[in-house]
Protein backbone atom coordinates (compact mmCIF):
# COMPACT_ATOMS: atom_id res chain seq x y z
CA UNK A 1 0.00 0.00 0.00
CA UNK A 2 1.43 3.35 -1.02
CA UNK A 3 2.13 5.86 1.71
CA UNK A 4 -0.31 8.75 1.39
CA UNK A 5 0.00 12.32 2.58
CA UNK A 6 -3.64 12.58 3.65
CA UNK A 7 -6.62 10.30 3.12
CA UNK A 8 -10.19 11.60 2.82
CA UNK A 9 -13.05 9.10 3.05
CA UNK A 10 -16.56 10.17 2.09
CA UNK A 11 -19.49 7.85 2.71
CA UNK A 12 -23.13 8.52 3.52
CA UNK A 13 -23.82 6.05 6.34
CA UNK A 14 -22.27 4.97 9.60
CA UNK A 15 -21.02 1.40 8.85
CA UNK A 16 -20.26 2.11 5.17
CA UNK A 17 -16.64 2.31 6.28
CA UNK A 18 -16.71 -0.94 8.22
CA UNK A 19 -17.00 -3.76 5.67
CA UNK A 20 -15.22 -2.48 2.60
CA UNK A 21 -12.48 -0.14 3.75
CA UNK A 22 -11.79 -0.17 7.50
CA UNK A 23 -8.72 -2.38 7.07
CA UNK A 24 -7.31 -0.06 4.42
CA UNK A 25 -7.97 2.94 6.66
CA UNK A 26 -6.39 1.26 9.68
CA UNK A 27 -3.31 0.50 7.53
CA UNK A 28 -3.02 4.15 6.53
CA UNK A 29 -3.35 5.19 10.16
CA UNK A 30 -0.57 2.72 11.07
CA UNK A 31 1.57 4.26 8.33
CA UNK A 32 1.19 7.60 10.06
CA UNK A 33 -1.14 9.07 7.43
CA UNK A 34 -3.88 11.38 8.72
CA UNK A 35 -7.32 10.06 7.81
CA UNK A 36 -10.46 12.21 7.69
CA UNK A 37 -13.81 10.48 7.47
CA UNK A 38 -16.74 12.63 6.36
CA UNK A 39 -19.92 10.68 7.08
CA UNK A 40 -22.88 12.45 5.52
CA UNK A 41 -25.80 11.03 7.56
CA UNK A 42 -26.46 9.13 10.76
CA UNK A 43 -28.22 6.27 8.99
CA UNK A 44 -31.56 7.51 10.29
CA UNK A 45 -33.44 5.16 7.96
CA UNK A 46 -31.87 1.94 9.19
CA UNK A 47 -34.49 -0.78 9.44
CA UNK A 48 -33.02 -3.13 11.97
CA UNK A 49 -34.93 -2.46 15.18
CA UNK A 50 -34.59 -5.91 16.75
CA UNK A 51 -37.12 -8.56 17.71
CA UNK A 52 -38.21 -7.58 20.31
CA UNK A 53 -37.26 -4.03 19.28
CA UNK A 54 -34.25 -2.48 21.03
CA UNK A 55 -34.80 0.94 19.45
CA UNK A 56 -37.23 3.02 17.40
CA UNK A 57 -37.13 5.33 14.39
CA UNK A 58 -36.39 8.45 16.48
CA UNK A 59 -33.81 6.88 18.80
CA UNK A 60 -31.85 4.94 16.17
CA UNK A 61 -29.71 7.90 14.96
CA UNK A 62 -28.42 8.43 18.51
CA UNK A 63 -27.34 4.80 18.71
CA UNK A 64 -25.75 4.91 15.28
CA UNK A 65 -23.87 8.09 16.12
CA UNK A 66 -22.29 6.39 19.13
CA UNK A 67 -21.48 3.36 17.02
CA UNK A 68 -19.84 5.52 14.37
CA UNK A 69 -17.63 7.20 16.96
CA UNK A 70 -16.68 3.80 18.37
CA UNK A 71 -15.89 2.42 14.92
CA UNK A 72 -13.71 5.42 14.08
CA UNK A 73 -11.85 4.90 17.34
CA UNK A 74 -11.34 1.20 16.54
CA UNK A 75 -9.86 2.07 13.15
CA UNK A 76 -7.77 4.88 14.58
CA UNK A 77 -9.39 7.69 12.58
CA UNK A 78 -8.35 10.97 14.13
CA UNK A 79 -10.76 13.25 12.29
CA UNK A 80 -14.38 12.10 12.10
CA UNK A 81 -16.89 14.55 10.69
CA UNK A 82 -20.63 14.09 10.82
CA UNK A 83 -22.05 16.23 8.06
CA UNK A 84 -25.68 16.44 9.19
CA UNK A 85 -27.53 15.17 6.13
CA UNK A 86 -30.46 12.81 6.33
CA UNK A 87 -30.36 9.18 5.28
CA UNK A 88 -31.85 8.44 1.82
CA UNK A 89 -32.02 12.11 0.83
CA UNK A 90 -28.54 12.71 -0.64
CA UNK A 91 -29.68 12.19 -4.24
CA UNK A 92 -32.39 14.81 -3.75
CA UNK A 93 -30.07 17.53 -2.42
CA UNK A 94 -28.93 20.31 -4.72
CA UNK A 95 -26.08 18.90 -6.84
CA UNK A 96 -24.00 22.07 -6.81
CA UNK A 97 -24.30 22.27 -3.04
CA UNK A 98 -23.01 18.71 -2.72
CA UNK A 99 -20.18 19.35 -5.19
CA UNK A 100 -19.17 22.49 -3.31
CA UNK A 101 -19.18 20.61 -0.02
CA UNK A 102 -16.74 18.08 -1.44
CA UNK A 103 -14.64 20.85 -2.99
CA UNK A 104 -14.36 22.61 0.35
CA UNK A 105 -13.25 19.39 2.08
CA UNK A 106 -10.64 18.82 -0.64
CA UNK A 107 -9.38 22.40 -0.43
CA UNK A 108 -9.11 22.25 3.33
CA UNK A 109 -7.47 18.83 3.61
CA UNK A 110 -5.51 18.56 0.35
CA UNK A 111 -5.83 14.76 0.29
CA UNK A 112 -3.53 12.64 -1.84
CA UNK A 113 -6.18 9.87 -1.83
CA UNK A 114 -9.96 10.02 -1.66
CA UNK A 115 -12.06 6.93 -1.00
CA UNK A 116 -15.77 6.91 -1.82
CA UNK A 117 -18.38 4.85 -3.66
CA UNK A 118 -18.26 4.28 -7.40
CA UNK A 119 -21.24 6.25 -8.73
CA UNK A 120 -23.67 4.00 -10.54
CA UNK A 121 -22.19 0.79 -9.11
CA UNK A 122 -22.86 1.12 -5.40
CA UNK A 123 -26.50 -0.05 -5.13
CA UNK A 124 -27.84 2.42 -2.54
CA UNK A 125 -28.97 5.78 -3.97
CA UNK A 126 -27.08 7.59 -1.20
CA UNK A 127 -23.90 5.71 -2.14
CA UNK A 128 -24.21 6.62 -5.80
CA UNK A 129 -25.05 10.26 -5.07
CA UNK A 130 -22.15 10.61 -2.62
CA UNK A 131 -19.67 9.13 -5.07
CA UNK A 132 -21.04 11.30 -7.85
CA UNK A 133 -20.57 14.47 -5.78
CA UNK A 134 -16.95 13.55 -5.05
CA UNK A 135 -16.31 12.75 -8.73
CA UNK A 136 -17.78 16.11 -9.80
CA UNK A 137 -15.61 17.97 -7.30
CA UNK A 138 -12.41 16.19 -8.34
CA UNK A 139 -13.27 16.53 -12.03
CA UNK A 140 -13.36 20.32 -11.64
CA UNK A 141 -9.73 20.34 -10.53
CA UNK A 142 -6.89 20.63 -13.06
CA UNK A 143 -5.89 17.05 -13.99
CA UNK A 144 -2.41 17.40 -12.50
CA UNK A 145 -3.77 18.56 -9.13
CA UNK A 146 -6.31 15.78 -8.70
CA UNK A 147 -5.94 13.36 -5.84
CA UNK A 148 -6.19 9.64 -6.57
CA UNK A 149 -9.77 8.42 -6.32
CA UNK A 150 -10.42 4.88 -5.12
CA UNK A 151 -14.02 3.75 -5.40
CA UNK A 152 -15.94 0.93 -3.76
CA UNK A 153 -18.36 -0.90 -6.07
CA UNK A 154 -20.58 -3.88 -5.35
CA UNK A 155 -23.56 -3.76 -7.70
CA UNK A 156 -24.41 -7.07 -9.38
CA UNK A 157 -23.07 -5.74 -12.69
CA UNK A 158 -19.94 -3.99 -11.41
CA UNK A 159 -17.38 -6.53 -12.63
CA UNK A 160 -19.16 -6.98 -15.94
CA UNK A 161 -19.16 -3.21 -16.53
CA UNK A 162 -16.00 -2.01 -14.78
CA UNK A 163 -13.79 -5.08 -15.03
CA UNK A 164 -12.03 -6.51 -11.99
CA UNK A 165 -10.93 -4.11 -9.25
CA UNK A 166 -7.46 -2.75 -9.91
CA UNK A 167 -6.54 -2.09 -6.27
CA UNK A 168 -6.47 -5.08 -3.95
CA UNK A 169 -5.39 -4.70 -0.34
CA UNK A 170 -4.70 -7.63 1.93
CA UNK A 171 -5.48 -6.14 5.33
CA UNK A 172 -4.77 -9.28 7.39
CA UNK A 173 -2.27 -7.50 9.70
CA UNK A 174 -5.01 -5.13 10.91
CA UNK A 175 -8.03 -7.40 10.68
CA UNK A 176 -8.57 -7.16 14.44
CA UNK A 177 -9.24 -3.45 13.93
CA UNK A 178 -11.56 -4.19 11.06
CA UNK A 179 -13.55 -6.69 13.10
CA UNK A 180 -13.73 -4.17 15.94
CA UNK A 181 -15.07 -1.58 13.49
CA UNK A 182 -17.73 -3.98 12.20
CA UNK A 183 -18.66 -4.99 15.75
CA UNK A 184 -18.92 -1.34 16.78
CA UNK A 185 -21.93 -1.02 14.49
CA UNK A 186 -23.79 -3.46 16.65
CA UNK A 187 -27.29 -2.27 15.72
CA UNK A 188 -26.53 -3.09 12.10
CA UNK A 189 -24.21 -6.07 12.27
CA UNK A 190 -25.25 -8.16 15.24
CA UNK A 191 -27.57 -10.40 13.20
CA UNK A 192 -24.94 -10.93 10.54
CA UNK A 193 -22.26 -11.66 13.13
CA UNK A 194 -24.43 -14.17 14.93
CA UNK A 195 -24.07 -16.43 11.91
CA UNK A 196 -20.37 -15.70 11.50
CA UNK A 197 -18.85 -16.10 14.96
CA UNK A 198 -18.31 -19.84 14.49
CA UNK A 199 -16.79 -19.36 11.04
CA UNK A 200 -14.50 -16.66 12.37
CA UNK A 201 -13.39 -18.85 15.24
CA UNK A 202 -12.53 -21.62 12.78
CA UNK A 203 -10.83 -19.12 10.46
CA UNK A 204 -12.85 -20.46 7.53
CA UNK A 205 -10.97 -19.46 4.38
CA UNK A 206 -13.96 -18.08 2.50
CA UNK A 207 -15.01 -15.86 5.40
CA UNK A 208 -11.46 -14.77 6.16
CA UNK A 209 -10.92 -13.84 2.49
CA UNK A 210 -14.05 -11.71 2.63
CA UNK A 211 -12.70 -9.95 5.69
CA UNK A 212 -9.06 -9.68 4.65
CA UNK A 213 -9.31 -8.58 1.03
CA UNK A 214 -10.48 -5.04 0.25
CA UNK A 215 -11.02 -4.05 -3.37
CA UNK A 216 -11.15 -0.68 -5.08
CA UNK A 217 -11.57 0.65 -8.57
CA UNK A 218 -9.43 3.64 -9.45
CA UNK A 219 -11.72 6.24 -10.99
CA UNK A 220 -10.50 7.20 -14.45
CA UNK A 221 -11.49 10.66 -15.65
CA UNK A 222 -12.20 11.06 -19.37
Amino acid sequence: MEKERQVLVVFPHPDDEAFGVSGTLASHVQNGTPVTYACLTLGEMGRNMGNPPFTDREDLPKIRKRELIESARAIGIQDLRMMGFRDKTIEFEDEDKMTNLMTSLIQELNPSLIITFYPGYAVHPDHDATGAAVVRAVEKMPAAARPTLHCVAFSNDCIEKLGEADIIHDITPVNDRKLASIRAHRSQTEQMFAGMEEQLKNQEPEVMARINIERFWTYRFE
Binding site: M45, M49, E58, V123
Partner: protein, 115 residues
Protein backbone atom coordinates in the same frame (compact mmCIF):
# COMPACT_ATOMS: atom_id res chain seq x y z
CA UNK B 1 -41.31 -0.22 22.08
CA UNK B 2 -44.13 -2.45 23.24
CA UNK B 3 -46.45 -4.77 21.39
CA UNK B 4 -49.58 -2.84 20.41
CA UNK B 5 -52.30 -2.66 23.03
CA UNK B 6 -55.32 -1.52 21.02
CA UNK B 7 -57.10 0.26 23.85
CA UNK B 8 -54.01 2.11 24.97
CA UNK B 9 -53.10 3.17 21.44
CA UNK B 10 -56.67 4.27 20.70
CA UNK B 11 -56.62 6.41 23.84
CA UNK B 12 -53.36 8.09 22.83
CA UNK B 13 -54.56 8.66 19.25
CA UNK B 14 -57.61 10.41 20.72
CA UNK B 15 -55.40 12.73 22.76
CA UNK B 16 -53.84 14.13 19.55
CA UNK B 17 -57.17 14.75 17.79
CA UNK B 18 -58.47 18.19 16.84
CA UNK B 19 -55.18 20.04 17.07
CA UNK B 20 -52.18 20.74 14.85
CA UNK B 21 -49.84 17.73 14.85
CA UNK B 22 -46.74 16.74 12.91
CA UNK B 23 -46.74 13.38 11.18
CA UNK B 24 -43.90 11.08 10.20
CA UNK B 25 -45.01 8.32 7.85
CA UNK B 26 -42.82 5.85 6.00
CA UNK B 27 -42.96 2.50 4.35
CA UNK B 28 -39.85 0.77 3.12
CA UNK B 29 -38.42 -2.51 1.87
CA UNK B 30 -34.89 -1.26 2.41
CA UNK B 31 -32.53 0.02 -0.24
CA UNK B 32 -31.01 -3.42 -0.89
CA UNK B 33 -34.19 -5.39 -1.57
CA UNK B 34 -33.80 -5.43 -5.35
CA UNK B 35 -30.04 -5.96 -5.08
CA UNK B 36 -30.45 -9.24 -3.21
CA UNK B 37 -33.54 -10.33 -5.16
CA UNK B 38 -33.71 -8.96 -8.66
CA UNK B 39 -37.32 -10.10 -9.03
CA UNK B 40 -38.33 -7.94 -6.08
CA UNK B 41 -40.09 -4.71 -6.92
CA UNK B 42 -38.95 -2.25 -4.30
CA UNK B 43 -41.23 0.59 -3.31
CA UNK B 44 -41.59 2.93 -0.38
CA UNK B 45 -42.79 6.35 0.64
CA UNK B 46 -41.69 8.82 3.24
CA UNK B 47 -43.03 12.06 4.65
CA UNK B 48 -41.58 13.84 7.65
CA UNK B 49 -43.20 16.73 9.47
CA UNK B 50 -46.45 16.96 7.57
CA UNK B 51 -48.56 19.40 9.57
CA UNK B 52 -52.10 18.08 9.83
CA UNK B 53 -55.13 18.12 12.08
CA UNK B 54 -57.38 15.08 12.38
CA UNK B 55 -60.90 14.93 13.68
CA UNK B 56 -60.98 11.15 13.94
CA UNK B 57 -58.24 8.59 14.40
CA UNK B 58 -58.76 4.87 14.64
CA UNK B 59 -56.80 1.67 15.16
CA UNK B 60 -58.34 -1.48 13.68
CA UNK B 61 -57.53 -5.07 12.80
CA UNK B 62 -56.45 -8.11 14.77
CA UNK B 63 -52.73 -7.51 14.46
CA UNK B 64 -50.73 -6.41 12.68
CA UNK B 65 -52.93 -3.35 12.99
CA UNK B 66 -54.15 -0.59 10.73
CA UNK B 67 -54.40 3.04 11.72
CA UNK B 68 -56.33 5.73 9.87
CA UNK B 69 -56.49 9.45 10.59
CA UNK B 70 -59.23 11.52 8.99
CA UNK B 71 -57.54 14.88 8.37
CA UNK B 72 -59.10 18.17 7.35
CA UNK B 73 -58.98 17.54 3.59
CA UNK B 74 -58.15 13.85 3.34
CA UNK B 75 -56.66 10.83 5.02
CA UNK B 76 -53.50 9.39 6.48
CA UNK B 77 -53.23 5.67 7.04
CA UNK B 78 -50.72 2.96 7.75
CA UNK B 79 -50.98 -0.81 7.88
CA UNK B 80 -48.74 -3.47 9.38
CA UNK B 81 -48.36 -1.76 12.76
CA UNK B 82 -47.02 -4.10 15.49
CA UNK B 83 -45.41 -1.89 18.16
CA UNK B 84 -45.98 1.43 19.89
CA UNK B 85 -44.34 3.76 22.35
CA UNK B 86 -44.89 7.21 23.83
CA UNK B 87 -41.37 8.59 23.96
CA UNK B 88 -39.88 11.01 26.50
CA UNK B 89 -41.08 13.92 24.37
CA UNK B 90 -44.67 12.73 24.50
CA UNK B 91 -44.74 11.65 20.85
CA UNK B 92 -46.69 8.61 19.75
CA UNK B 93 -44.37 6.30 17.81
CA UNK B 94 -46.00 3.45 15.94
CA UNK B 95 -44.05 0.92 13.91
CA UNK B 96 -44.50 -2.32 12.05
CA UNK B 97 -41.60 -4.75 12.29
CA UNK B 98 -41.23 -7.82 10.12
CA UNK B 99 -40.32 -11.25 11.51
CA UNK B 100 -36.60 -10.37 11.54
CA UNK B 101 -37.17 -7.19 13.52
CA UNK B 102 -36.77 -4.91 10.51
CA UNK B 103 -38.91 -1.83 10.29
CA UNK B 104 -41.40 -1.98 7.42
CA UNK B 105 -43.70 0.89 8.29
CA UNK B 106 -43.73 3.78 10.76
CA UNK B 107 -46.38 6.30 11.72
CA UNK B 108 -45.52 8.90 14.33
CA UNK B 109 -47.56 11.78 15.75
CA UNK B 110 -46.09 14.75 17.59
CA UNK B 111 -47.18 18.17 18.80
CA UNK B 112 -43.76 19.58 17.89
CA UNK B 113 -41.76 19.06 14.69
CA UNK B 114 -39.53 15.99 14.45
CA UNK B 115 -35.88 16.98 14.32
Amino acid sequence: MEVVDVQKVQGIINQFANQDVYIHLETTNGAYASHYDQTFFSAGAYIRNALVRYELGKITGNGPFRIGLKINLGWVYAEGITHFEVDEQGRLLLAGHDYNGKLAVALEISKTPFE
